[in-house]
Symmetry: C2
Subunit: 184 residues, 2 copies
């Protein structure tokens, strides 16, 4: 009852967009642009960024396989709480394993979870290397780095695939927001 | 920038009310009434309940002292994310230790954290015992139960003290919402 009252107050339905992809693929950039577009349309939106969460809620977690699972689990649970609060939630985190993304999906009503694969070839991510992380991983200074010494499992049937090469983030964000039309 | 845009969209300032007190003190009941009052006033509000969170985000945590600390830490971090999203957040959880409540407070801007002590004598909580937990704790079936074999540290200078004996939860919720006037 309270949940539907909250949704009614916001004038749109809650949903979660789960942006998955390699480090440097463009997840955060696309999420930030999409957030601005959604807020401009009056939609109550929150971006949950894997990197930022690691300085708060998930600061106790490493990048090892089991802590990565826990990282994804917690973000999924927080996203769930935020959709309960009526928000449109944009999660941007590598979330390398299919099983954990499927767990995240399982928390939401059918259709309210949009998996968006930010599809950028690793060579392009390495060339961009905005935080110098690939360089450090290749130099052996960083362990458990996705795509280098940890696997990334691409989604098999995501709701949305955003191929970033040659397309500006603004355009991809618009495409993402179009997918949310049924919620707005 | 995005943060202030979100707050502007909501028409009120974000804040967190942290309801602390013994099991059975009335935290959840007061929070639910306050949530309904706030939603009726058009304030975007979310209640975070310790018990409910233990079936999701915090399901991996026990009731031992160190897991209780982690429980409070995570709820505080989630509340922080939700105030970043522009919400008024009502946290209802025992949160027995001062140090952890002070940690929670430290995450928020000065004045945006309202500690509300739901002050009910343990004898009254025991008599109410809505979930039969005191009975089980006294029978030795539950360990680490606050007030029985774990300590509860009452707040020393909470922003609000809600003495529940002889006062209906609706009235206490109204008092709580009055405290939030500067945010509404």
């Amino acid at each position: 009852m309270v949940r539907s009252a909250r949704a009614a107050l916001k004038g749109h339905k809650p949903a979660v967009v789960w942006l998955t992809g390699l480090s440097g693929a463009g997840k955060t950039t696309i999420a930030r642009h999409a957030e601005a577009l959604l807020i401009a349309r009056g939609a109550h939106t929150m971006a949950l960024d894997g990197d930022i969460l690691r300085s708060g809620l998930n600061q106790d977690l490493s990048f090892g396989a089991s802590d990565r699972k826990e990282n994804v689990r917690r973000v999924a649970e927080v996203a769930k709480l935020m959709t309960d609060a009526g928000l449109i939630v944009l999660c941007a985190l590598i979330s390398p394993y299919r099983a954990e993304r499927d767990f995240a999906r399982s928390l939401f009503e059918k259709g309210a979870f949009v998996e968006a694969f930010v599809d950028t070839p690793i060579e392009v991510c390495m060339a961009r290397d905005p935080k110098g992380l690939y360089r450090r991983a290749l130099a052996g200074e960083l362990r458990d780095f996705t795509g280098i010494d940890q696997r990334y499992e691409p989604p098999l049937s995501p709701e949305l695939t955003l191929r970033t090469v040659g397309r500006p983030a603004e355009e991809l964000a618009e495409e993402l927001v179009k997918t949310l039309a049924p919620f707005l």
